[in-house]
Amino acid sequence: MKDIIYDVAIIGSGASGGAVAYQLCKAGYKVVILEKGQLIQRDEFSKDELAYCRRDIVTPNLFDEFHTIEEKIDGKWIETPTYQSGWSFWNGNIVGGSSNFMSGMFHRMHPDDFRLKTIYGKIDGANVEDWVINYNDLEPYYRLAEDLVGISGYSKKHKYEAPRSRLKFFQPPTEENNIVNLFDKCCNKLNITPLVTARAVLSKNIGKRDACYYSNFCGSYGCSSGAKGSSREAFISPALATGNLTLLSNSHVTHLDSSEKIIKQANIINNITNQKLKIYAKFFVVASQAHESVRLLLNSANKFHPNGLSNSSGELGKNLIFSAGGAGGGTFYKDDMSKIDFNNLMDRGLFINRSILDWYIKDDWWKPKEKGGLVEFMFEHQNNISRAVNSRYKDNRLLWGEELAKKLKDKFTKTKTLRFEIFNDWLPTDDCFISIDKKRKDKYGMPVGKLRINAHPKDLEIAYNISKKVKIILKEMGAKDIYSSISAVPPQNLIAGGCRFGDNPKTSVIDKNCKSHDIKNLFIADASFMPTGGSTPYSWTIYANALRVGEEVVKVLQKKL
C-alpha cells in the first residue's frame, strides 16, 4: 500500500466524491476513495426502521464522534455537544454517503441564484456574493447528472423553471398517487401552477439498475432495486467497473500532511482494525460534506498553514448555509372526505411528485424584485414506529390502554397526512460558520467540528409568507388540522458553504474550478464551495458541480502527466 501513488485520492464517497471518481476513472486515471463508513451493497439494504431510522447504525456513535453546536439562547451563544443533545449532524456514513438515503426530490437552481447580489442587491446582515460561474456554465452538468443519476420527471414550461437544453427528462415520472388529481385541480382553481417534481428515482429499468418498485419506504432507506440515484449506484459502481477505482471503506482520514504548496499524503485510520495508513496521491479531492471537509482542513494545520489548509484568506469555515425553509401539513380524515375517495390516498408507495415554483421570485412592479422559494409536497413518512410514537400524547398527557389503541387505529387506518416542505435561501451570515472545538476531541483524538448556527430574519419571513399560501391549497383540498412550522433550526442533511469559491484568493478558499488558491494539488468538490444555495434542495447542484470539478481535475492531470 505504501508504495502506491494514486493519481487522485478522494476523501468521501457521497454525491460529490462519487461523481468526481466517476469522471476520473472513466478518463483512465487511478483513483482511491477513502470512505469512513462501511460498504453496504444494494441487496443488503432492507426496510428496517429500527436499524436505519432509530439507531445510529449508519452514522457514528455520538459518544465516539460528535459535533459541538452553538446556538443563541436568550442572547448568549450556548455550546452543546451532540452527544448531549442527540442532535446528530452525521448523514449516512456508508459508501455512497447520505445520497443512499435521500428521497430524491431534485431541482436545478434558477439562473438568478448565481447572481443573487447583482440582481437582488445587498441584504443587511447577510454576506451574499454572486457565484463566479453562471447557470449556463453549469447547465451541461445538470443535464449530464440527469442522465447518469437517472432523474425522472416531466418538464412543463414555467417562468421560474431553470432553462433546460433538452426539454424531455431522461425518464418519465414515477407513478403517482391519485391525490395529485385533486392537488392539480385545487391549484388550478387558485391560479397556482402545479409542477411535476423531478426525482432521482428510475421509473424504468436501465442497465443493471431496476425501476422503482414503490416500497412505500424510500427516504431514509437504501434502495434495493438500484432505482434511487445514489452516488453508490450512479457513480461508484460504474467507476469500480473500469478497474481504475480502489475503494477503501472504514477508512477515516484524520489529517492531511502538506508542504507549503503540495499535499503529500492522507493519514487514515481503519475504524475496525485501528490500523493507521498513509495514502499517497498526486491530487487530493476533499468531499466529506461541507462541515467535515472544513474540519479536516482546519485540523490539518501545520507550520506552512498555521490556520488550516487553504485558509490564507481566513474564509475557511465561514458562511455556512443549509437547504431549509419550513415545513407543514394537513390531514385528510376518512370520515370527512368529499373531494376524493379515501381509499385512493391509502395506495401504498406511490409518489406525489408535486412542487410549486410560483413564489420562487417575488416580482411585483411596484417594488424591487425579491427572492422567494419553492414548495415540495409529500405524504407523511410511512415509518410505523415513528407514526405511533408521534401519536402517543393527547393534551400533553401520555396515552395508553384503549385510548391509545383507538388513537393509533384511527391514525393508521382513517387518516392520511399531506406534508409540505419549503425551500428558500439560507442567507450566509457572520453568525453561521464552522470552526474546530479546541476543548473537545473525538475517539481518534482529533478536535471535533463546531457549528455556530443562526438564520437571517429574512429567511424566516420568506418561509412564513410562503407557508400562508400553501395552507390555502391544503384548505381547498379539504385537509384539516393544517399547520406549519417555520424556525431557524436547520436540517442536518443538506449543508453547504464554508469553502466559498471565488476569483479573489483574499476573499475565497477555492477558485472557480474548486481548486485551492493555496495548495496546488487540492480540490474541494462537495457543497462547501457554494456562496449561496438557491431556494432548492442542493442535491442536483452538488452532483452537477462535482461532475464539473471531476472534468477539471482530468484536464489538470492531462496537462501534468
Binding site: 453496504i40 429500527l50 419506504f217 401504498r348 410511512q382 402517543r392
Partner: protein
Amino acid sequence: MNRRFFISFSTYTFIGASNLLYSNNIIFNKFQFRKDIYNIIESVQKHFFPQDSQLPFASEFSSIEFLVSTIYHKRFDKDIRNFVISGAKDFISQENGQFINYNREDKEIALRKFENSSRGSKWLSRIMILSMEALLSDPIYGGNFRKSGWIALDTKGGNPKPKSRYINL
C-alpha cells in the same frame, strides 16, 4: 437542546431506604437486569397494552424481552439505558415496591401520579417508545410476534425485510 439534562434531572430524592428495598432482589438474567426492575417495567407495559385492547397484549409481542435486549445492545444509547433503569427504581420507590400487586385502577392512579413529575413523565414516555418499537419493528427483533402489531393497525413493513438484526453489525 440538551436532551441528557432532562434525562438526568430528578425531581425525586431517594436515600438509603430505596437501597434496602432492592437488597433482597436477585440479579436477573444475563444482562444483570434486576428482577424487581424487570417486573415493574413489564407490569407498566401490560398496563399500557392490556389484554382487552384493540392492540396486542404486551406479552403477546414480547415487549419486556424486546426492551431488555434492545437497551443492552451496543448501539443503544447508554444514557437512555441508565435512565430506563434508574427511572424504574424511582417508580418502585414511589410505590414502595407494590405497584405490580395493584389492581388496574390503582395502577392507573400510580402511573398518573408518576407522570406528574418531569422525570416520571419522561420515563413513562421512554417505556412507551420502547414498547411501540417492540409492537411495530420487524419481527426479527423479537417483538411484533407474527406481525400482530402491523396487523392490528392494518399496516405493513417495507420490503425487503431485514435478514438480521441491526444489519448484522
